[in-house]
């Protein structure tokens, strides 16, 4: 597979007050691939993920230096956060559907971006739910609360909600950590399927998961990228001793 750069990260540092959470990150993230971020808790992988759609802007006292470009455009200087977040969608660790109907959840994004026509919304909702492989399970209860379905279904509804804004990139922050194994597999299959149309970046605690679904893997430790490369290489032939230790389960 040819690697085509989607994001280019240069000398990225991030501080929460005096605490430096990310140290000098340089990385290329590629289009149409699944990139996995692995590493122990507190290593900065989620923080880094959230710099990609500027969710860290919402946290008080965050300071960021360096830059990230998407398709060559600096996402911090030459793009506003709202535009960025419509192009870079996010799925969170805990399924977080709004306390509304399934339909309204999926239609939320299109609605705030000005789509009012019911027929168009209907179409988007159906398409997104189908893409998220949940349509069959919920098509008869679209008007029911999204909180009334199982956790795994909620997470797929959240993915559908993200797909409904037609992003180019989907960020997934440990999307299966709150789910049972079967739901986890469904989400993984879904991610592999979505890779055809979207660039996916996934943070995971689960190394098998990274191994199963990702093309590239980055290993984070105390705010630094220790090693980044093809998933196969990282798992079978890690260059760094720390990566090897983590992957073989010696710590973390």
């Amino acid at each position: 597979m040819k690697d085509e750069t989607k994001f280019s990260v240069k000398d990225l540092n991030l501080f929460y007050g005096n605490f430096q959470a990310l140290k000098n990150i340089n990385m290329e993230l590629y289009k149409g691939q699944i990139t996995a971020f692995i590493g122990p808790s507190g290593c900065g992988k989620s923080t880094f993920l959230k710099t990609i759609n500027r969710m860290n802007d919402l946290v008080e006292g965050v300071k960021i230096t360096g830059n990230i470009t998407m398709d060559g455009v600096d996402i911090y200087k030459d793009m506003d956060a709202i535009t960025l977040r419509t192009r870079v969608g996010m799925v969170f660790q805990q399924p977080n559907p709004f306390p509304m109907s399934i339909y309204d959840n999926v239609a939320y994004g299109p609605r705030i971006h000005g789509i009012r026509k019911k027929s168009v919304l209907d179409e988007i909702v159906e398409k997104s739910l189908k893409q998220a492989a949940i349509w069959e399970e919920v098509k008869d209860k679209l008007k029911k609360s999204a909180l009334a379905v199982s956790g795994g279904q909620q997470q797929r509804i959240c993915i559908a909600r993200t797909l409904a804004i037609e992003p180019e990139v989907i960020l997934m922050d440990e999307p299966t950590s709150a789910l049972d194994p079967i739901s986890t597999l469904k989400i993984e299959d879904l991610a592999t399927e979505l890779k055809k149309d979207y660039t996916i970046i996934i943070v995971t605690h689960n190394m098998q998961q990274a191994g199963r679904i990702s093309d590239k893997t980055a290993f984070f430790l105390t705010g630094e990228v220790i090693e980044y490369g093809d998933t196969e290489q990282i798992f079978n032939n890690p260059r760094d001793k720390k990566t090897e230790d983590y992957i073989t389960g010696r710590f973390g």
Binding site: M55, I82, R85, F92, F98, P99, M100, I112, S145, L147
Partner: protein, 306 residues
């Protein structure tokens, strides 16, 4: 050994005894409010229902639909008072809830901490002002202002009551709405921002709807507060002796001020009729409380089930 055992048993008995005493104290404390409410209901209802039964009974229908209150001529109609009270309350809600809600949103979501540090004590102070002061303020300021623009040339009016009640219910609306807004999980906000929503969109499409039942409860409590308010409204309502209000400039005579103005000198049937007014007021409050209990009950369920 034996001694130690005995001591233990004695200690245990003392402990049991203490437990029981405290249990009793708690129970008595709880009973004070329950018994009080029962006593008030029995007293108000027995006095208030008396004029409609027995020999020379007053027609309840005339009482509840009457448009004139003239104790001197044995005429007791309170329909126009009910209308006045309801309109004043409605007006206060229509005016006060949006202002209160927007203030709550501002405090909970938008304002920097420094500004919140000014607004919040102001609201707490507003809640602590005695209602007679509100009345004096209403009379001295609002009524005077209305006088200048009113076609009737008089300031005491439905409008004056609405304005003062709207201010009086603000603390209730703001405090309760704010806490329900703050209780909205952060994850909803993140989800909304993550979909490219702006701050204002997130607030009005996600946070406020998610806090809906809390805001509704705040509104219902506000209604209760407004309909039961006495002193402040008595000073500014005009308290006419009859006739439905036909505009916001009309004088009204709220149920509460009817009771408080005349109770001190009324006797016989007149006094009983004031209690009957109290019964009507009481029923309003009961209905409002029932609605409130329903709402807060629902609030607990929401999220987990539907």
């Amino acid at each position: 050994m034996n001694n130690a055992n005995k001591e233990k048993i004695v200690a245990k008995r003392q402990k049991d005894y203490k437990e029981k005493v405290f249990h009793f104290i708690f129970l008595v404390s709880a009973l004070v409010s329950v018994l009080s409410v029962i006593a008030i209901i029995v007293f108000v209802f027995s006095k208030g229902l008396k004029p409609f039964f027995g020999e020379g009974a007053y027609s309840f229908f005339d009482f509840i639909t009457g448009l004139k209150w003239d104790p001197g001529n044995d005429v007791y109609g309170i329909f126009y008072m009910i209308v006045g009270s309801v309109l004043a309350t409605l007006g206060a809600i229509v005016l006060g809830v949006p202002i209160g809600l927007l203030t709550a949103v501002f405090i909970a979501e938008i304002a920097p901490k420094k500004i919140v540090a000014i607004i919040r004590p102001a609201i707490e102070l507003l809640a602590g002002i005695p209602s007679v002061i509100y009345g004096a303020f209403g009379l001295g300021v609002i009524v005077q202002l209305i006088k200048k623009v009113s076609p009737t040339g008089q300031g005491e009016s439905l409008l004056a009551v609405i304005c003062v009640l709207a201010i009086m219910i603000l603390p209730t609306i703001i405090t309760l709405s704010e806490s329900s807004l703050r209780a909205v999980p952060k994850s909803y906000r993140e989800a909304s921002y993550g979909l490219g929503a702006s701050k204002i969109q997130t607030i009005f499409k996600t946070v406020v709807p998610a806090a809906k039942s809390g805001i509704l409860s705040a509104t219902v409590l506000g209604i209760g507060r407004a309909i039961g308010e006495t002193m402040a409204v008595m000073m500014i309502a005009g308290n006419n002796i009859g006739g439905l209000p036909n505009s916001i400039w009309s004088k009204i005579r709220p149920l509460t001020s009817n009771i408080s103005m005349e109770m001190s000198y009324a006797s016989g049937r007149h006094q009983d009729m004031l209690f009957a007014t109290g019964v009507v007021l009481f029923i309003f409050i009961l209905v409002i409380n029932t609605v409130l209990i329903r709402l807060t009950g629902k609030m607990g369920d929401e999220g987990s089930k539907k």
